[in-house]
Amino acid sequence: MTADPNAEPAAPVDARPLVVLTDVNKHFGELHVLRDINLTVHSGEVVVVIGPSGSGKSTLCRTVNRLEPIDNGTITIDGQPLPEEGRGLARLRSDVGMVFQSFNLFSHKTVLENVTLGPVKVRKVNKSEAHETAIRLLERVGIADQADKYPAQLSGGQQQRVAIARALAMNPKVIMFDEPTSALDPEMVQEVLDVMTSLAREGMTMIVVTHEMGFARRAADRVVFMADGRIVEENTPDEFFTNPASERARDFLSKILTH
């Protein structure tokens, strides 16, 4: 069931496998978007997923909390297979944070309410405790002073930091980031990457789809390169960026580097 931990180059030796995908396949109609995906992410590990548009990176992220169901294969979170539907699935999802490209904050709720909603309604934490935690998290991402505003009143970078605080409030085992900075104006990218880098330093388990190579080099333990629904190559960031093994990766890197 579980993949051989030795196959993962950058995994910390004593870390337990947290997210394990085994022989995962997924189609959208005729289109084979995920092909025999095997991926193990260990506790505390930061994995950056990179690859051309349409290679299946977002789909991969979304299968991990079953926003997209898979055709076959298995996905386990902390040893537990993903339930099909219902409350079991909801409980498991609450342990997997998700940060989207388009923030997806709840527009009718204030920043503070966005962050407390999950803990209060899903974790049944009492309101004042959730409130305190939320303020602390908003301070950590640097927007505690905006707590009573509505999402539409914030800049993109601020909204994305709220989205990160909202994910953190659930105390998740792992957080998935799907291109968290690609909808942002250039001057706001760094503030979000800084928050992510400090999370990585503090030992949060993260799967990050991004083309920000600076972040990958600074924060990632491992880079996973995808093309046409397959994992083509996995390596440490340094190795991957300076010495990519596959033709596809070399080709891809030459394109994003010349941009």
Binding site: L67, R93, S94, V122
Partner: protein
């Protein structure tokens, strides 16, 4: 003008029934409309299909037929009885018909409202571990409702006017237009004056509703 003041009793009586009929039917229509909407976006195909069939069937049936069915079908044939007093019995039969009918329009408005909410918000809610019901109750419906307050006002106004069908459709429910026709039948009043009086009565009833819903809709608008 005397024709109005001399008949103020039937005027007030008629409109008080109209208002009761409208408010009670509106409450049920809203509740059923929300339920239908929940069914239509549910993950269970059977629920989705039954809600759609219901909405498409009732919405496309003339209200007169719906109310006739309530009076003759439910009342006479199936002997469904709500009250020993005839005027209340037919009142509740009419409420069944009016709310069943109006619920379809409430559901259609709400569905249009749901379609304006970015899909990602529902996904974010699911990712937090909210159940389908929580997602609907806390994220989707509150926002959908706020975007369709204006259209719901129109539905409410249409309902107010639709109550007049309840007296003609074999039910004989008391309401304003029935009182008006009774006055005509007595033949002692100026038809035009009474007619205009009752028409103004309806406008007085519905005009503030329209403005109120318009105001509410601005007040509760969600910025995106």
């Amino acid at each position: 003008m005397d024709d109005i003041f001399n008949n103020l009793d039937s005027f007030v009586d008629g409109f008080s029934w109209t208002i009761r009929l409208t408010l009670v039917s509106a409450a049920f229509a809203f509740a059923i409309g929300v339920l239908l909407t929940a069914m239509r976006v549910s993950p269970v195909p059977l629920l989705r299909a039954s809600a759609t069939v219901y909405v498409e069937t009732i919405r496309n049936t003339p209200l007169t037929l719906v109310l006739l069915f309530c009076g003759l079908g439910l009342g006479n044939t199936m002997q469904l009885q709500f009250s020993d007093r005839v005027e209340w019995d037919v009142f509740w039969l009419a409420v069944v018909g009016l709310s069943a009918y109006t619920a379809c329009f409430v559901a259609e408005s709400l569905r249009a409202g749901i379609n304006t909410i970015p899909f990602g918000q529902a996904e974010a809610a699911r990712s937090l571990g909210l159940t389908f019901g929580q997602n609907l109750r806390l994220i989707v419906l509150p926002q959908a409702l706020r975007t369709v307050i204006g259209p719901l006002g129109s539905v409410f106004i249409a309902l107010t006017k639709n109550t007049t069908v309840a007296s003609v459709a074999g039910l004989g429910v008391q309401e304003a237009s029935r009182e008006m026709r009774l006055l005509f039948d007595q033949g002692q009043t100026d038809v035009l004056v009474v007619f205009i009086g009752f028409a103004i009565g309806f406008i007085i009833l519905t005009l503030p509703v329209g403005y109120f819903f318009g105001w509410l809709s601005k007040r509760l608008a969600v910025a995106r």
